[in-house]
């Protein structure tokens, strides 16, 4: 059933448990039907990989604590699970995911449902993120939009006519592996060459900065324990660092190229950028919009918006409320 905005008839006292299984951290939360985050519990993934039994067990334990701490009025009635990689939402199965080593054909909704005695639903993590921004974040007020998450990889979720778009197969909005064309030769984690992810992910930002450093070009960056990441680069860009500004320009142009296609194909009105890499939004936005302006056919540049997500790691938790309401819970 396609998600729809929660009806006002339903009590906002209803609440849901929600988990977003990321590559580094796992975010558990309790959210109201209206999308208010009532409590969160974030913990790091185990080093060396955590198999399904171990990780699901940990999540269930954290959920029970959130549940116990919830007041009478906010007893959870269902569970939403956001997972990366190849999943089958209808069947509730994680088929395979690069960030979930050792997870093959795991019926996660069934396991979680039995352990907690609550119905459970599974959805792609980027789709939950997009639903969250649409319900209560930077996506409010627009029913034709894409949310792009710049993290370890590049994910996306598509809202068309106010509903999450799923298409004919088990996943849609897979923009991270759209090719940037023959001039792009960097090998992607997926094994292909020149995917959007090889330029626009937070991982790629660090790689491009490293290439700049290795070439001996000038930069304000001094090696430190923090290392090179999107956050460090954003701070350097604010100080006018040429390396960081170069990196974010590359990101903006690559996103502009792919998003110009998405806007022209679907006649969208908004793109929301989220994930860790969007911390540098102010430096990515200008080259992205400059590119978009030259390529937009379906609208004038002032008729569309490219905005930064406002919910951060809470976005998929909020999205859970839309998913579960649409699922009849």
């Amino acid at each position: 059933m396609p998600p729809t905005r929660p009806s006002k008839k339903q009590s906002d006292q209803d609440s849901f448990l929600s988990v977003d299984i990321g590559g580094t951290n796992v975010t558990c939360g309790l959210v109201s039907r209206g999308g208010a985050v009532l409590a969160t519990d974030i913990f790091p993934r185990a080093k060396g990989g955590d198999g399904p039994d171990e990780l699901i067990g940990t999540i269930v334990g954290r959920f029970k604590k959130l549940w116990a701490a919830a007041d009478e009025a906010h007893r959870p009635t269902a569970v939403a699970i956001g997972a990366p990689g190849w999943i089958k939402p209808k069947e509730g199965v994680v088929v395979n995911a690069p960030n979930l080593a050792g997870w093959v054909d795991v019926p996660i909704t069934q396991i979680m449902s039995q352990a907690l005695g609550l119905p459970a639903m599974l959805e792609n993590d980027s789709n939950l993120y997009a639903l969250g921004e649409w319900l209560a974040g930077a996506g409010r007020g627009s029913d034709n939009q894409i949310t792009v998450t710049l993290g370890t990889g590049v994910g996306a979720g598509l809202i068309l006519n106010g509903q999450l778009w799923s298409g004919s197969f088990t996943s849609a909005a897979e923009i991270g592996h759209i090719p940037l064309g023959p001039a792009h030769r960097v090998k992607c984690g997926c094994g292909r060459i020149g995917c959007l992810e090889t330029v626009a992910s937070a991982t790629a930002m660090a790689r491009m900065a490293r290439e700049w450093l290795d070439s001996g070009r000038e930069t304000l960056y001094a090696d430190s324990a923090e290392g090179l990441n999107a956050q460090v680069l954003a701070e350097l860009a604010e100080k006018g660092d040429a390396m960081s500004i170069h990196v974010f320009r590359e990101v903006g142009v690559a996103l502009g190229q792919i998003l110009s296609g998405v806007f022209n194909l679907l006649s969208l009105e908004r793109a929301v950028l989220g994930g860790g890499g969007a911390g540098a939004f102010q430096f990515i936005k200008d080259p992205l919009l400059e590119y978009l302006e030259t390529r937009l056919v379906t609208a004038k540049i002032h008729e569309i918006q490219v905005v930064k997500g406002t919910l951060g790691t809470n976005a998929p938790l909020v999205g859970a409320a839309v998913l579960l309401t649409a699922g009849g819970y």
Copy 2:
């Protein structure tokens, strides 16, 4: 109102007038509600440009003849107009079109409606083409698909959940001007650089063949009155001509690049290729599928289809039946 498949309750004896205003020819027709083409009348556009008054007058005259020749049971009840370029379907206005020189803000549905005493609707020509293939051609049986027309330019129409997708603004599925990336430097008719149209249109096919000739490379082509066009190239390719095979490979790879993005973004199950350039489908298909196979994330290559349109110049006429039925006529 979004188009839907004509209901079986409605009489298939109902009929509609339909016109597709192309760059070279104008196709008028009488179609049944079920999509059967009852009569057609194709005539060339006037050399040196035909203004709105002249061309609309000619179309009205042709329509009256089709109407007069229709038997009692097939009296037309509404008119559909397919036009290229920038149009406003809801307002029934052709705003501006490269192929309709001198047409600015022409309220074509109002003019046509008054002249014929029938209600009229306007739609993008590629969208009508896509609706036709979906109703009665190569798009039958699939409700998530794109139809791409390879003609003077590259157009497309998108069917999502069995309905024509229009998006937030006046046009969608504008894939002809999606950029192929920084390695592509040919200037497009639109003024931009490296649009899909600079490689995949029938116009581009002729240009690439000319470049091959000018470089003195071997070919079976001998200059003739026919000139270099997609049809001539397709005939040469059947004889093993290296030039033609090279051209169609370039077309297939470029389409593969852009369509891989479209399939992955929307999780589509089918792409239909139509228009004059699709006459070389058998030579375009293999490089297109080879490229798609390496890039498809949302499905396996055997789960999707890339097929040749079957309706040709009748496609937009057939699409008119879907448009007008959905419009309540």
